[in-house]
Amino acid sequence: MDQFFRALILSAGYNTALVCIGATILGASAAAIGTFVLLRKRSLVSDAISHSTLPGLAIAFMIQAVVTGDGRFMPVLLIGATLSAVVGLFAVQWITSRTRLHEDAAIGSVLSVFFGLGIVLLTVIQTMNTGKQAGIASYLLGSTAGMLMSEVQTIAVASLIVGVLIFFYRRQFTIVCFDPDYASVSGYDVQRIDLIMMALLLAITVIGLKVAGLILIVALTIIPPVTARLWTDRSAIMVYISALFGGLSAYIGAAISSVDYGLPTGAVIVLVAFSLFILSLLFSPNRGVFAVALRRRRSIAELRALSAAAAAKANAGKAVESGSSYEDRASVNHGTATRQAAEAAS
């Protein structure tokens, strides 16, 4: 526990601090691009991308293992991951445009086929007798344990570059997400902007593989934006809140998993992000469960008061028509009393 708090305040040693900072930048950038991907209603594409990286990772590992004896050199692994993710993305695109299948079906098929192929290749790697296969498994669920400083620096700098690019393109992304037809009429190249969005998503997915793991990294691009949506009704603000939640989740996740080397970083990050989501779902002032329940109760009370007042009025009217002075007075009194009660209630 003590170690965890020290990690949180960045005083658990230089390396842990650097890992936490790198993870934070990664989480913020992933959440920021995730916001636009969510608004474009293509969140699952992110899952297809991450699972498609596995065959590329495995093949890159094998080639390196054979050539140099150590398959774990990260830049080469990431190049392999990128290439196979691009192939996966094109497969999704091709199936969607050339067949009658919708994107969700295309994503499901591509994701499972690529992941299956990757798992088979991983099994092959386990039987190889060179290459230090232990390293490759960490890409599945993410691990900050034993990360090289050069790897942390690569992740931090690359994430920062992606983040800056997202910032520059935020307005184009927004207009394309809201109304692609209008965007194209206004002179935006919708296809190009979509391509940039997907490229940035792919980049951040590949960069984040080591930290969050390819199975769970999709959570970093989906959960924080969904959480942010609970706090704001404006996309321009949603991006920043999302980045904040994403950064926070990755930061805490990295800190926790640095304590006990057994915990996979990706899983911890997802749980932290989910906790933030639950808290937001309950307590957000606009859309939170409690706020909505409170508003409901209030409006029901108002409606009751209104209808009571209306009933009282109607009663009074009926009594006047009936003509009996005694009943008349009683009803009117009753009506007044009800109305007063209604006013008091409201």
């Binding site: 207009i175 809201f178 109304d179 037809d181 704001t232 009704d233």
Partner: protein
């Protein structure tokens, strides 16, 4: 501006745009001007336009032009290709053949002079944006991709919202607006562009009578200021009241021209191919008689 002197005297002065609100009177406050029927420099000129989605053409070699300063309606049954015509003209859907020019130039060169108002149902209104955010989208090009909006841009957007009577709703999330208000947000986004041609896809679909009157009033004021308006329109009974030029299509062009000579039972019958009952045609004749005697 040849046509300006022909009608300006007898036309009642339109109410200022800034005062316009959802009042139902005023929709027919002032008469439509005479239009100049010359194709040269027409705000929108379509020649030999063919569009297909599958094997069957949706639009088959359409030829027509929108006269300058006209209020033009595009009329036809469901599936006649009305929206497709607009979308193909604006390069949203690909053309199989044909050319479309705006003010005598290709669209890409005169984008700023053309404002497009899509169908309200074409977007997700749960999108996290306020009315002001949507109107600001009309200024994105002007602001530039990498700069921040300035105070003057916001003022322009607030002005546009005021013109459509939504100034006090500027901070509201668009999903919390009524259908009519959403349509007016789209209109405000077009207004803020300061265009010369307004192309609208069913602006009156699913809005209440008061909103329809308010939108018509804004369109007529725009027209009075010298702008041209093109609407895909559904309600035949309001055609003579709102528009002065007409294109009737059903996959192919049936007729086009001034409403006074084109909006005839014969043309409508040809457009709707027997889908109009005699009762509707009688009603149409009554409307025509009323509008010509006015």
């Amino acid at each position: 501006m040849v046509e300006a002197n022909s009608g300006i005297g007898r036309r009642a002065q339109p109410k200022s745009l800034f005062e316009s609100s959802a009042s139902s009177e005023g929709a027919a406050d002032f008469e439509l001007p005479e239009v100049v029927n010359e194709e040269e420099g027409s705000p929108m000129s379509v020649s030999d336009l063919t569009v297909t989605y599958t094997d069957k053409p949706v639009l088959d070699s359409i030829d027509f032009y929108v006269p300058r300063r006209s209020m033009t309606a595009i009329i036809g049954p469901n599936g006649a290709g009305k929206s497709t015509l607009i979308k193909a003209a604006l390069n949203i859907v690909p053309k199989l053949s044909g050319t479309v020019t705006f003010f005598g130039r290709p669209y890409a060169e005169v984008r700023e002079r053309v404002a497009y108002v899509p169908q309200r149902a074409s977007v997700d209104w749960d999108f996290p944006a306020t009315a002001l955010d949507i109107v600001m989208m009309g200024l994105y090009r002007q602001i530039g991709p990498f700069k921040f909006p300035k105070r003057e841009h916001k003022d322009l957007a607030f002005d546009a919202l005021r013109k459509v009577g939504l100034r006090k709703f500027s901070g509201r999330q668009i999903g919390q607006l009524s259908g009519g208000q959403q349509q007016r947000v789209f209109l405000a986004r077009a207004l803020v562009q300061g265009a010369d041609l307004y192309i609208m896809d069913e602006p009156f679909a699913g809005v209440d009578a008061a909103t329809e009157a308010a939108i018509v009033e804004i369109l007529k004021t725009l027209n009075y200021e010298g702008k041209t308006v093109v609407c895909v329109h559904h309600d035949l009974s309001t055609v003579p009241q709102y528009f002065n030029h007409l294109l009737l299509i059903n996959g192919e062009k049936i007729a086009d021209g001034p409403v006074s000579t084109t909006f005839t039972p014969g043309n409508l019958q040809a457009t709707y191919g027997g889908r109009l009952g005699t009762a509707q045609l009688d009603e149409m004749s009554a409307i025509l008689a009323a509008s010509s005697s006015r």
